[in-house]
């Protein structure tokens, strides 16, 4: 009576658990996924091309809008790539403040991931708790640069302004309660049997596959490869910070959850060190009136919450805007591993796999 036929369905682009406008083409044999292809491009705005037509200074606002959950980390990559291109040295205090805000941003991004990922799988409660703390991080963003999400936090050569008065109080208030908040999330999830059933052993991606596909960030570290650009090629003030790179070897969704939770703890540690060791001094380097590129091309990689975000800039010597601009978006490259993780599994686990990738479509489609 029933024909043994494969069925093709679309997951998305308006599916709430695809985190934006991702469409996944699935071929199903019953409940098992036999073929899985992510289709992207629904949010393409041509950021790379736009930046080529704008000055080095103006380009930063577009990086905010790529990965809008971790705008500060994107800004940091952009300004550092430009400083390399323009040959500018940044004062030490600016480096510290950048590191501080970048780590806050990592916490905010991971909290968004935790909330939405848990909600996709069915744990709605965590979402509310995670967004409570994220609100505090956004307040800190707002206190520093005036905007909550699209921060445009840094400037080429340093920072626009020093820390505002009362900033330390905000940071200490956050740090004082954050570890107990993390415990709350873990109480809700870590041993929860439903959570474990939905994540342990689901969407495996081995270290070999991850490296072959160019996957970076917590995805790679959950497969047991301790590769973190903050340690491997230190930038900003990370060389002076003392922190660990958490890894797991199980390479499943649960391991990625553990890695990200541990990363938030390390971020809090780095923030504490930044606050303690904050040097005095100026926050802005002396800049020429008009920014002209000094060298021909740079590639600068930084560790965004999602993985390695690299900015490739070609600027002919003396030019006012980049001749070519390319972003190595971590989400874009991590997404390639979705077929590897989803094929052979159940369709319900595709949602868990997408969640554990922690993708933001603004960055994938650019």
């Amino acid at each position: 009576m029933f024909k043994n036929e494969e069925m093709e369905i679309n997951l998305g682009p308006q599916h709430p658990s695809t985190h934006g406008v991702l469409r996944v083409k699935l071929r199903l044999d019953g409940e098992t996924v036999t073929h899985c292809r992510p289709m992207i491009g629904y949010l393409h705005r041509g950021v790379e091309k736009i930046c080529e037509n704008q000055s080095f200074f103006q380009g930063q606002v577009w990086t905010d809008r790529m990965d809008y959950c971790s705008a500060v980390a994107n800004n940091l990559g952009w300004v550092e790539a430009n400083e390399k291109l323009l040959g500018i040295t940044v004062p030490r205090r600016a480096h510290y403040i950048r590191t501080l805000l970048n780590e806050f941003n990592r916490i905010a991004s991971h909290l968004i991931w935790l909330g939405t990922h848990a909600m996709d799988i069915g744990a709605l409660t965590v979402f509310l708790y995670a967004f409570r703390e994220r609100e505090d991080v956004l307040d800190i963003n707002e206190a520093f640069c005036g905007s909550r999400l699209t921060t445009t936090a840094f400037r080429i050569g340093g920072l626009r302004e020093d820390l505002p008065p009362g900033f330390e109080k905000l940071v200490h208030k956050f740090l004082a309660k954050f570890s107990s908040c993390l415990e709350e999330y873990e109480n809700l999830l870590t041993e929860n049997r439903i959570w474990k059933k939905r994540t342990v052993g689901v969407a495996r991606l081995s270290a070999e596959d991850a490296i072959a596909l160019g996957v970076t960030g917590p995805m790679l570290r959950a497969a047991g490869v301790a590769y973190d650009i903050r340690k491997a090629f230190p930038y900003a003030a990370y060389a002076e910070m003392d922190f660990e790179v958490p890894t797991r070897t199980e390479a499943d969704t649960y391991a990625r959850y553990q890695v990200r939770m541990a990363e938030m703890r390390q971020s809090a540690r780095i923030i504490q060190q930044c606050m303690d060791g904050m040097p005095e001094g100026p926050v802005m380097a002396k800049l020429p009136k008009i920014l002209r590129s000094e060298v021909n091309e740079v590639y600068h990689a930084t560790e965004s919450p999602k993985g390695e975000i690299g900015y490739y800039l070609v600027g002919e010597k003396g030019s006012l805007n980049p001749y070519r601009f390319h972003v190595r978006a971590p989400g874009f490259i991590n997404l390639q591993s979705l077929p590897k993780m989803a094929e052979g599994g159940l369709i319900a686990d595709v949602v868990a796999a997408i969640g554990s990738l922690d993708i933001v479509l603004g960055e994938i489609d650019r």
Partner: protein
């Protein structure tokens, strides 16, 4: 055996529930009785939201003590704006040495509130104010200039309006 007991006694679920219960009781039993309430939700439209001093809101032109527009038409803000939403027309005014902006058009719908214009202005003649309730029904309501009621760049934008064109 252990596994069986663990399945039977839902300690993990109880742990999660205790977190929820703790927060629930904190809020429930201390409602209206504590100076600093446990609940963190603000009743936004009734209670105005507070913003930080550096908040980036709508672009505002400043006037000096004599009520003159401070802007001297150096066009730095027009050039630096990443979305090109500022259009300035230079002009002259009686009894004023500096150039005077005959037109200072600002298309708010495309402004991304980046504050580059304020940063580039060497004469401190513009700021971003603290207003964030800027939604409107018509596109025309987003074109701001130096003239016009409710649409000029010196005062706050009217909130809760339907359209300037309706009046």
């Amino acid at each position: 055996m252990n596994k069986f007991l663990r399945t039977l006694i839902p300690a993990d679920i109880a742990k999660g529930l205790s977190v929820t219960g703790k927060h629930f009781s904190q809020v429930f039993f201390t409602a209206n009785r504590r100076k600093v309430p446990f609940h963190i939700v603000s009743e936004y439209p009734e209670v105005p939201a507070k913003v930080q001093p550096r908040f980036r809101g709508r672009l505002t032109l400043l006037k000096d003590e004599q009520g003159e527009i401070k802007c001297v038409c150096c066009l730095a803000c027009e050039k630096i704006c990443p979305t090109q939403v500022i259009t300035i027309e230079k002009g002259k005014k009686e009894g004023r040495k500096m150039p005077f902006p005959v037109r200072y058009d600002f298309e708010m719908e495309r402004c991304i509130f980046c504050e580059f214009c304020v940063e580039s202005c060497g004469f401190d003649s513009i700021i971003l104010n603290h207003q964030f309730e800027l939604a409107a029904y018509n596109r025309e309501d987003f074109s701001l200039g130096t003239e016009g009621l409710g649409q000029n760049m010196f005062e706050l934008s009217p909130t809760g309006k339907f359209s300037v064109a309706d009046d």
